[in-house]
């Protein structure tokens, strides 16, 4: 093998090929006619046939195969006219909740949660950040107290920047369960039923005028112990795993050349020669080149994942994505000239999902400011790269060995 196209990836059992899986999809479609089967029934059956995500274990929607084979399955279903599970709508579930449940959940939790998560019948949200715990997530103050009788837990606190909370059935919740130990040791991770009493969701209006996110207030919310993910006190390890998946998810969608924000800027450039200046041309060439290189780096990252060689490059992708979106949208507003002084709509709305497109450059300019903070600030990402990738010495910390309750706040 000279060109490195077939790297071994960890499957179990007989080595199924993409062709075998296409055969399975044809067999499935022969029994479940997409035109005649209600969408939820179709998706549930697809999950039960192990064709939802083939890299997941048998019985949980997969077949324990290399992740790279999934694209052949998805393509075969799409070609057969099958309904999809609308992955953009359930991105947090697919990208963060599912890998966390798979890695840390009990067998019963996996069976209970993964199927409706994948079919989209149950939407998930992520209750991590708090008004007092942003970059310093481990300082969080939402308390969960164990009930001596009955065995369940009661959670109280406030979470913020929660997308999809208003439509979610489940929330990934990190809580403080032991304030008497140092902060990283006293946390516990739960799945909280967003329809439980005491859960209040309020929209959080942002600089673009709309509200993509929510504040979530938890007042004596009961959580059964069966919904705890991972051990009591192990919440930080579980949360860290979730966040690593978030970073991959945010930097990571495959796009064609000029498929991202640069496409919008260059279309304006091509259509309106009167807007061109030498300075802007230089900026445009740089940004086009950087955006294309970033796209190639994203492709390379995907190839690494598909080959079973995940690297730390996901953190780089998120940093670059944030910078490019910001610089490209800055240029785009200037390119718009007088139109750059206008804004399409300040009305408070609840978009189903955030999209840069279908709006004016001013919206992209404002929305992109959030890219370097959401999902881990660029500064924290640089710390992570420096310490975990480059192995540089950690910051001198004042908060590591002090009980959480004694930290200055």
């Amino acid at each position: 093998m000279l060109d490195g196209t077939s790297h071994g990836a960890g499957g179990t059992g007989p080595a199924l090929t993409a062709d075998d899986l296409r055969g399975q999809v044809r067999g499935f479609l022969a029994v479940h006619d997409p035109a005649a089967t209600p969408r939820p029934d179709f998706l549930r059956a697809r999950f039960d046939a192990g064709l939802a995500w083939v890299h997941y274990p048998p019985g949980l929607g997969g077949q324990g195969l290399p992740r790279a084979l999934q694209s052949a399955v998805d393509a075969a279903f799409a070609a057969g006219g099958a309904p999809g599970n609308n992955p953009e709508r359930i991105g947090i579930g697919l990208g963060m909740a599912a890998p966390t449940i798979l890695a840390f959940g009990t067998e019963e939790q996996k069976r209970r949660w993964l199927r409706p998560l994948w079919t989209g019948e149950e939407i998930w949200c992520q209750l991590f950040s708090e008004p007092g715990a942003g970059s310093d997530l481990a300082g969080l103050a939402t308390r969960a107290v164990h009930n001596p009788q009955g065995g369940g837990w009661t959670a109280t606190g406030q979470k913020v920047w929660t997308s999809s909370a208003h439509i979610a059935r489940w929330g990934l919740l990190v809580t403080r369960t032991d304030p008497d130990v140092p902060k990283h040791k006293g946390m516990t991770y739960f799945a909280v039923d967003m329809t439980a009493p005491g859960v209040e969701v309020r929209p959080l209006r942002q600089i673009t005028g709309e509200a993509e996110f929510n504040e979530v207030f938890l007042s004596d919310v009961p959580i059964p112990d069966a919904d705890r993910i991972g051990d009591v006190g192990a919440g930080w390890q579980v949360a860290t795993a979730t966040l690593m998946n978030e970073r991959v998810a945010i930097g990571g969608a495959a796009i064609p050349r000029e498929g991202g924000m640069i496409g919008s800027a260059v279309r304006t450039w091509r259509k309106q020669p009167e807007l061109r200046t030498p300075g802007m041309h230089d900026r445009l060439l740089r940004l086009w080149a950087d955006a294309e290189v970033a796209r190639l780096a994203g492709e390379r990252l995907r190839q690494q994942l598909a080959a079973g060689q995940p690297g730390p490059e996901g953190s780089a992708a998120k940093l670059v994505f944030a910078r490019l979106n910001q610089e490209i949208s800055e240029l785009e507003v200037e390119l718009a000239g007088e139109d750059g002084l206008r804004y399409d709509d300040w009305t408070m709305r609840r978009p189903a999902r955030a999209s840069f497109y279908g709006r004016d450059p001013g919206y992209r300019y404002l929305r992109a400011r959030g890219n370097s903070n959401e999902g881990g600030t660029s500064e924290i990402l640089r710390n992570i790269i420096a310490e975990r990738v480059l192995g540089l010495p950690p910051e001198i910390r004042l908060d590591k060995d002090v009980p959480w309750k004694d930290l200055p706040r």
Binding site: V266, H281, D282, R286, E292
Partner: protein, 427 residues
Amino acid sequence: MEGPAAVTQTQQAQAQQAQARQAAAEQARGEQGPGEQPAGPAAAGMPDLLYGETENELRAAVRDLLADRAGPAAVLARTETAQTYDTALWHALAADLGCAGLLIPESHGGAGATYREAAVVAEEIGRSVASVPYLGSAVVATTAAVAAGDDELLAGLAAGTTTAALAMPFPADPEAVPAATVRVGALRDGDPAGTYRLSGTVTGLIDALPADVLLVPADGVPFGLYAVSAGDEGVTRAPVVSLDMTRQLCDLTLDGAAGRRIAAGQEAERAMAAALAAGAAMLASEQLGLADKCLEMTVAYVKERRQFARPVGSFQALKHRLADLWVGVTQARAAARYAAACLAAGDPDTAVAIALAKAACSDIAVRASQESIQLHGGIGFTWEHPAHLYLKRAKSGLIGFGTPDRHRASLASLADLPAPGSRGGAR
């Protein structure tokens, strides 16, 4: 390295892949509405950007040799001798490890490998800044000789017994090949058939000092590419005191030197364009290796160096700079691999790929070498420490085969990003 058959199959497979990609890209253009079309290949047609097993093995062999023979002290010492090129090391790399023949087909005695493997060797040379004429001979001159199909030259190059250099100024840019400065003149009495007499000057050649053969583009009727023996009468190579003495330049003067024409007319132009394109792409990989090594050296140093009773690498101001540098290297690596893969497969996107790679890798190499000097503090500014060798090689390499600005400017036409005052951009 694997057997020749595997290599040939790979080349065929890559060529097929490239055709399929072109077809997919054309189809994608057809399906999109006006003004929405992507300018390049769809994501599904992306070539392999990773390193394969053979590439990793080749890398390990080259790294071992260079670690043994081209450590920082040895490289520095050689820059202060009369013979700045390490010809013994070059022979070991070229002949013993077979790096000279990587790009030469097996039918001509080479390894029949591709630019993907050649790029890995370039990365390793960039990491060591070894003074060997790999880029000029095994990449640039070899690409020209392969394009010209010159059996005699290829046999010597493949065996590692002939070292060749293209007589072009190092800054020559593949998107704007400079005009020839050498002319074909009158023959002398007794010149055998097939001999040409060349006169003129070319400045700023790389890897020509240790070369046996110079490939000289010369104006005449028609324009041609000529092989000239470097030791012949009428050939003068004047060493240049170069910014980068690990790749010392020379100025070439030909005064009625005898040449053998290896390509003429459009064939010669194509051979030169191919040689410069390959030079730019493989220099990008060299710059990537150089940047990676600068980052590695600097990270190691800031972990050891203590000030204020702590390693300076624990200060966030430094950590963030190094993290940004690492990000730049990861981005540049994708661009370098894409350029090597496109070149290997004859992909229609090769010109864009090379422009992106040369711009990204040259920028990151210079930045990494400059950061290396800054973050090494005083020691980084000394002659004794190798950091300056990397800075000089990086900055010279940035100018070689087109600066990042020139490569980005070429995107104006390659990617339809027209300059102010031009009429482009109709689509």
